[in-house]
């Protein structure tokens, strides 16, 4: 009897353990592949620019000798594969080249600007989640099974409208209302907590609206599920019913979109930083593109890309934790 019940159990333990290991291995493999693709794309970027990037950067009036010297500096005269190998080696050792406009190591310029951008993006994401989750859950519960049609219509309409206004336009609008008309909040720079309000809101409101709308739909669907009937048969109080039984299941689908929104938010900082003169990476990348400071552009693109890839990994892990079944399903 004991052997009968023990034998399959040990096999199962091994299998469960393997599911997670396999999931981690698969996910890590994909991350490495994506990172390699990212670095390669950053490398190719400069070589895909029509004409001579150095000539373009220094302008048509620069002396030919200067251009040649700079080309040699950057190693642009080596054969492409050699340059590629050098680039990979440099990136891996943390050397992202030298910024032409700042005359500083690119990594140092990025290091100076990155914290401001990170603060902005992460605060905005936190605010978006804090707004979206309670709103979505509440709306889902209120409008479950086709209840409160008017509230549903009003909410959906508002959230669609807020979700479609692009962040930088929302920023301009907020600047006008709270900065210019009411004069309550600073509209530029990065000085103290008050200066965070408007940039964070311009980044957060759109994604919050999208998330809340999605979460409502998910909640409404989940509330109709068989296992919710089971939970109701257990006579659990409403809070337990909706927060413990419904929310995790509703979040699983929402979290994927939440990840997309967070990566979009990382990119959105570029625009919002420009609206609010926020001295971060986004502000810097635009200036460096205009100044044709290619090593700096390359470096910042890499940083943004890595940020997006990390967000994607976090999303997959979060989904796996919320929905254990997903680890056993093979992705494409």
């Amino acid at each position: 009897m004991t052997t009968l019940s023990q034998a399959p159990s040990r096999t199962l333990t091994r299998l469960t353990g393997n599911t997670w290991i396999r999931f981690a291995a698969r996910r890590a493999g994909r991350l490495v592949l994506s990172l390699w693709a990212l670095v390669t794309a950053a490398f190719l970027m400069i070589h895909l620019i029509p004409g001579d990037p150095v000539r373009a950067a220094l302008g048509p009036t620069a002396a030919a000798s200067l251009v040649a010297a700079r080309r040699a500096d950057l190693g642009l005269d080596d054969p492409l594969p050699v340059q590629y190998v050098h680039y990979l080696r440099d990136v891996l050792s943390g050397d992202l080249g030298t910024s032409m406009t700042f005359n500083l190591p690119t990594s140092q310029v990025i290091g100076d600007r990155l914290p401001a951008t990170l603060q902005l993006a992460l605060t905005a994401f936190a605010v978006a989640v804090v707004i979206a989750v309670p709103t979505g859950v509440l709306m889902g519960v209120l409008t479950r099974g086709g209840r409160a049609r008017r509230i549903e219509l009003g909410f959906t309409g508002t959230s669609v409208a807020l979700g479609t206004i692009p962040d930088f336009l929302l920023g301009v609008l907020l600047v006008y209302v709270f900065g210019v008309s009411l004069g309550w909040l600073p509209v530029a720079g990065h000085t103290g907590p008050a200066s965070y309000v408007l940039p964070v809101l311009s980044l957060a409101i759109g994604p919050a609206a999208v998330l809340a709308r999605l979460l409502r739909v998910q909640m409404v669907t989940v509330i109709e599920a068989d296992y919710m009937r089971t939970a109701r048969a257990k006579r659990l109080p409403a809070a337990v019913l909706y927060l413990r039984h419904a929310l995790p299941n509703a979040l699983t689908a929402t979290i994927t979109v939440g990840g997309l929104l967070l990566s979009a938010m990382i990119a959105g900082t570029v625009l919002v930083e420009n609206v609010f003169a926020w001295q971060g990476l986004g502000d810097t990348i635009v200036h460096s593109i205009l100044a044709k400071d290619y090593p700096l552009v390359q470096g910042i693109v890499l940083v943004y890309g890595v940020g997006v890839l990390l967000v994607n990994v976090m999303v997959d892990v979060a989904v796996a934790l919320l929905d254990p079944h997903s680890t056993t399903i093979r992705e494409y």
């Binding site: 019940s5 023990q6 399959p8 159990s9 333990t13 469960t16 592949l33 994506s34 693709a37 990212l38 970027m45 620019i49 099974g145 479609t164 206004i165 692009p166 962040d167 930088f168 336009l169 301009v172 006008y176 210019v180 008309s181 509209v187 980044l203 068989d226 296992y227 009937r229 089971t230 048969a233 257990k234 006579r235 109080p237 337990v240 413990r244 995790p248 299941n249 929104l261 990566s263 979009a264 938010m265 990382i266 990119a267 959105g268 625009l271 420009n274 609206v275 635009v286 593109i289 205009l290 290619y294 552009v297 693109v301 943004y304 890309g305 997006v308 994607n312 929905d323 254990p324 079944h325």
Partner: protein
Amino acid sequence: MAMNTPAPARTRPAPRRGGGWLAVLRTPVGAAAGLLLGAVLVLAVIAPPLWHDQAATINTGDLLKGASSAHWAGTDNLGRDLFLRVLVATRLSVGLALLAMLVAVVAGLLLGTAAVVVGRRAARLIAAVVDIAVAFPGLLLALFFAVIFGVGTTGAVLAIGCATAPGFARLTQTLVAGVVARDYVAAARIAGVGRIRLLTRHVLPNIAEPLVVNATIGAGSALLSFAALSFLGLGVQGASYDWGRLLGEGLDGIYVHPAAALAPGVAVIVAGLAFNLFGEAVAKRIGLTGTGQPPSRGRAARPGAAPTARTSAEASTDVVLDVRDLTVTVTGPDGPVRPVRGVGFRLLRGEAVGIVGESGSGKSMTVLAVAGLLDERLQVDADRLTFLGTDLLSGSPRDHARLLGSSFAMVFQDPMTSFNPALRVGSQLAEVSRRHGGLNRRDAAARAVDRLRAVRIPAAERRAYQYPHEFSGGMRQRAMIGMGMMGSPALIVADEPTTALDVTVQRQVLRLIDSVRRSAAVATLLISHDVTVVGQVCDRVLVMYAGRIVEELPASELATKARHPYTRALVAAVPDMRSDPHRPLPVIPGRLPDPSELPVGCAFAPRCSLADDRCHRHEPPLETDADGRRVACWQADAEPRRGSDFDSRADVTPPSAHKTDARTHSAADAPAAPTGERP
């Protein structure tokens, strides 16, 4: 966010309905969006020739003026009218967006249909590249390509086109994969149709509509993206201007002159919204998006305090459940409908009662109403509804929750969906005891393990830490029974507990329920459409038809002494070893009436061979005989006509769409007995 250009993937290919694009204009949202889009497009065409010169007129007397009746949006630093400039900029803004979308569509189509044209390896490589690219936000890709293609109008068009292409390619891939899997494409392949011809003739026409719809939505996003690039100074340059550029210039002077920034901003939003909304409206119209709205159900009043005639003699401690004249009312658009009409029954301690009837006869709704698990918008009325002596029609819901939570167990039909996939099995059991039994986390967990063991789950301690998907169906159903045993159950209601299970597992589960009943004197109420099962495990059987109990009798008499023609028909529809293999299986002709269209008289009369005039005119009451058996039939004591009780026509499809009556159907080619010829 704004630049997240890849169009949303909509996988379901559209049904070919040509009227979709025009019909969408008849919906309110579609009409508004169409009108808006039309206005934007007309403006794009007519604005530059009408106002280009005026918009370019430098007026040094009117520098940086605010909004006025002469200049609705004020003037810029050269005194040019900003309102006119915003109007004139429509063409460039919309035109460039469409151009960028064209680039995206062409590139996306090339990448997305590559799987059909190129070899398998190349197709996989392309798919992998697209997959990686899609993971990056549109703006990041746009910036990347802007560096390659250079700052300026052409560069920006190409950059936004290339940035949008991966999303479009992904969509195309999905759609193509759906079409290629269809039979006629496979047939064309076998017939030797070339790859290119396959693509142009079979694949593209079938994915054209969803692609166009998504391109329309995408154009809205491209418009926003273009505004963003121009705003950053990476788009339109020199003397030409679009909305993004006007916005960027306006923002610098927003303190002095807010209209200069707001006017182009509003223009961008309106135009972007026009494309987006119109695309979405069409998508919805032609069925690309499934916004599954549940059918509207009317509001019904909360169950009012129904009269409770309490007779003290009957409040015996042995009565677990006492239901009298239970009615469920749904208030629909065509007035009230009553799927359950005056049902009454009693359950004694340790008793096993079955409810049988076709799907839709009101079995499940009856028990859900008793359990208080129906949607509160359905009205439940009863003369009496007591559980363990507690009146469930009055009193505090909190007290009821405690009583029902610990003593009233439910086992549902599908064990696959009845457990919460996100929570461990053990904790789903334990929360019953934590909530209603006052146990702490540790004790509740221990009890959960103990109960899992009681329902013969092997290695219960480890199993308790697993998730439902790691359990087999039979094991889940046993765990569900264990969940009901967390408290001190007095009643287990099992609603078709075995229908979703393998035949071999069915028996185990039924036996388990039965052993629980015997060991703890728990009453069980088993709902089933399977007369045989109910006959085997129950003491008494209630037969339901069209929301009423039509017969109640001891299970042992089911096969021999049933008096209602419907009961006899249910019994006869089950083949047994004595069935004549050469006769078709008897079926009950006709179908269960819809609760909203009940016939006058006996609801079964239209399907009953014994029905006479009275049956069609007056509904028979449920009469109790001396032995406590009940039947509602005018012909209850009439002798069934031999052999002709029910048509045994094989050409009649089984009318009573049984939920999953595997037994009867799989046995359809097996022997069948003519009715009424049982010994």
